[in-house]
């Protein structure tokens, strides 16, 4: 297959090419190794997890997971809080971002690029600078340890990314198709449903996944603004910062469980990941 696919490079692909391919494999394995190690250790017993040299082929067990889910404080409330905060804020982001992106691409307002760069500039201001006023506001409004405050903050955190991404997806809708729809007398709803939606649906899905990942990962605000009730999964993980005797298997189980939704969402959105992270500027 490779011989057919790369006829131009073929003459250069000698032994050097094979070494470079091997190098790529070695680097790839080195990068994925800590993740694999985390997964493997999570299925080992605590005694085996703490062995030096590492007990790679030790028998597998679910001890770590059992300890994580039912050993101490239950991880379910934080996991559910994270899920609520991420899903609800992602939904709100899409509700706000899609119309905004429409007004910045298909039927653009005047000075649309200024507006676009305003959104981007908010992403560059350090979040830590807005932390204190939000905390004081929450304290006075009785919103501390309330998941809705996090939802509002996560929405503002992801809205610029979503507006940029959605704008770049919406500008892929061919102008000819929009004109044709207008000629055929299609109203706004019909144009949205049958012309725009089919083209941008994959884009909406990718945007949603990226917003979900960023909300799920967030630590600083969740740590400052929540306590016992609205605690999220990353905050729950911080209880592992100081070591507690034999706890490595449990820690790896916890890290893997909390990362699992992101790993799934990320691999699903793999192809759109760059576009999202570069705010739509790289295709």
């Amino acid at each position: 297959m490779t011989t057919v696919a790369a006829p131009l490079n073929k003459k250069k692909e000698g032994r050097g090419g094979a070494w470079l391919s091997l190098l790529a494999w070695v680097i790839g394995i080195l990068f994925v190794l800590p993740v694999l190690w985390m997964v493997l250790t999570s299925f080992h017993s605590e005694a085996n997890a703490a062995q030096n040299p590492p007990a790679v082929f030790a028998p597998l067990t679910l001890e770590g997971y059992r300890e994580f889910f039912s050993g101490g404080a239950s991880p379910w409330p934080p996991l559910l809080n994270s899920l609520t905060a991420s899903v609800v804020s992602t939904a709100v982001v899409l509700l706000l971002a899609i119309p905004a992106a429409y007004a910045l691409s298909i039927k653009p307002v005047k000075k649309w690029s200024d507006v676009l760069f305003f959104f981007l500039s908010t992403k560059m201001l350090p979040v830590v600078a807005g932390l204190l006023p939000l905390y004081l506001f929450a304290q006075n409004a009785g919103l501390l340890d309330n998941i809705w405050l996090l939802i509002i903050f996560y929405t503002s955190m992801n809205l610029p990314i979503a507006v940029w991404m959605m704008r770049s997806f919406l500008s892929e809708v061919p102008v000819e198709m929009l004109e044709a729809a207008a000629v055929d007398g299609a109203g706004l709803t019909k144009t949205l449903r049958s012309v725009i939606a089919p083209v941008v649906m994959p884009g909406i899905a990718a945007t949603a996944l990226i917003c979900f990942i960023f909300s799920w990962n967030e630590l600083l605000f969740a740590r400052v603004l929540t306590a016992t009730v609205a605690e999220t999964a990353p905050v729950f993980l911080t209880s592992f910062v100081t070591s507690q005797g034999l706890f490595l298997a449990q820690l790896c189980a916890a890290a893997f469980v909390v990362s699992l939704p992101v790993l799934v969402a990320g691999f699903a959105a793999q192809d759109k990941l760059v576009q999202g992270l570069s705010l739509g500027s790289v295709k």
Binding site: G17, W37, V115, P126, V127, G130, L237, T238, V282
Partner: protein, 318 residues
């Protein structure tokens, strides 16, 4: 073609007074944008105004009776504070270190992955994995499962390798205590190299291949092609990666908080401000520090915006 003939007809069909119609249609265009715009202004701009106001106030939550106007005192205290100056320096080292190393590694790996070889997709997927581990979880794994001097994988691997050569006293360094800042940098490089690699790979795959083939036929070797064709083409992608990386890593809190808890000279600005605010409850000083960080960020962000907008114009030209 028919659309040209029909367009004026639909435009004049309703015929209200022209000025009113134009204003109404301008508002109809703006309407979908407004909710998002208003939301962003309220949630992101108002807090910064508040921060600015508080930065000029004497306000410590431990002394609620002594709230008042402080002038530039907080700024003076921030500028003379040794911890704060260290934090600025740490932030620069941390950000520059992570961005430069991950950019170089990302470039090398992107070049390797730009070739066709067996399992290219698998290697790409493996490379992305570090970026998809929740940052706190990743930092915890590095701290406990890799760096730990007694049972971490690094020292475990040293024991194993030394064991192969029949030695039973392998070196067992305490990685985090010996090189705390590098420990944080390596963990972050591991997470951010995939990001750089993805951006640069996208850039490489957008290269005009026919021109490169022509150069090769004209006798240019790989290094010449890389130096005078690939690198200039990649320049804007390198800039974009560096600037976006800087924006995210300047703000890093998770890794510093988890791996060293800001100890051993690794407290960066976000962590230091978090401490002044969350532990010392000195709201005035925390706000002054935040204002200074914002000003610093605006300087970097101006360059960043320029880069993004140049990419943006290029896309417009297409």
């Amino acid at each position: 073609m028919t659309s040209v003939a029909e367009k004026p007809a639909t435009g004049t069909a309703e015929a209200p007074p022209p000025g009113v119609a134009r204003r109404a249609s301008a508002w109809a265009r703006r309407a979908p944008l407004l909710p998002a715009l208003v939301f962003m202004i309220i949630v992101t701009q108002l807090p910064f105004v508040a921060t600015l106001v508080i930065s000029f106030m004497d306000w410590n939550a431990y002394y609620p009776d002594e709230v008042g106007f402080a002038g530039f005192d907080n700024f003076a205290r921030v500028f003379t504070d040794v911890n704060m100056r260290d934090a600025v320096w740490t932030t620069i080292l941390l950000t520059a270190g992570v961005v430069l190393i991950s950019l170089l590694l990302g470039l090398g790996i992107a070049l390797l992955l730009d070739r066709k070889f067996r399992g290219r997709g698998a290697v790409r997927t493996m490379m992305i994995a570090p970026f998809l581990v929740v940052p706190v979880a990743a930092a915890l794994i590095w701290k406990h499962a890799l760096y730990n001097p007694e049972y971490g994988l690094f020292n475990g691997a040293l024991t194993w390798i030394w064991g192969l050569f029949g030695s039973d006293n392998p070196p067992q360094p305490d990685w985090i205590s010996n090189m705390p800042l590098w420990a944080v940098i390596f963990a972050l490089v591991w997470q951010w190299t995939p990001f750089m690699m993805l951006i640069l790979l996208a850039g490489l795959q957008g290269r005009p291949l026919d021109v490169i083939e022509a150069a090769r036929i004209d006798g240019a070797n790989n290094w010449q092609i890389f130096r005078s064709m690939t690198l200039p083409h990649l320049r804007q992608y390198l800039e974009l990666g560096a600037l976006l990386g800087s924006i995210y890593i300047v703000q890093n809190f998770d890794a510093v908080f988890t791996i060293t808890s800001g100890g051993l000279g690794t407290a960066n600005l976000p962590y230091t401000i978090y401490q002044i605010f969350y532990q010392a409850h000195d709201y005035g000083r925390a706000s002054a520090a935040a204002v200074i960080v914002v000003i610093g960020t605006i300087i970097i962000a101006t360059f960043a915006l320029r880069t993004v907008s140049s990419l943006f114009k290029e896309e417009g030209r297409r």
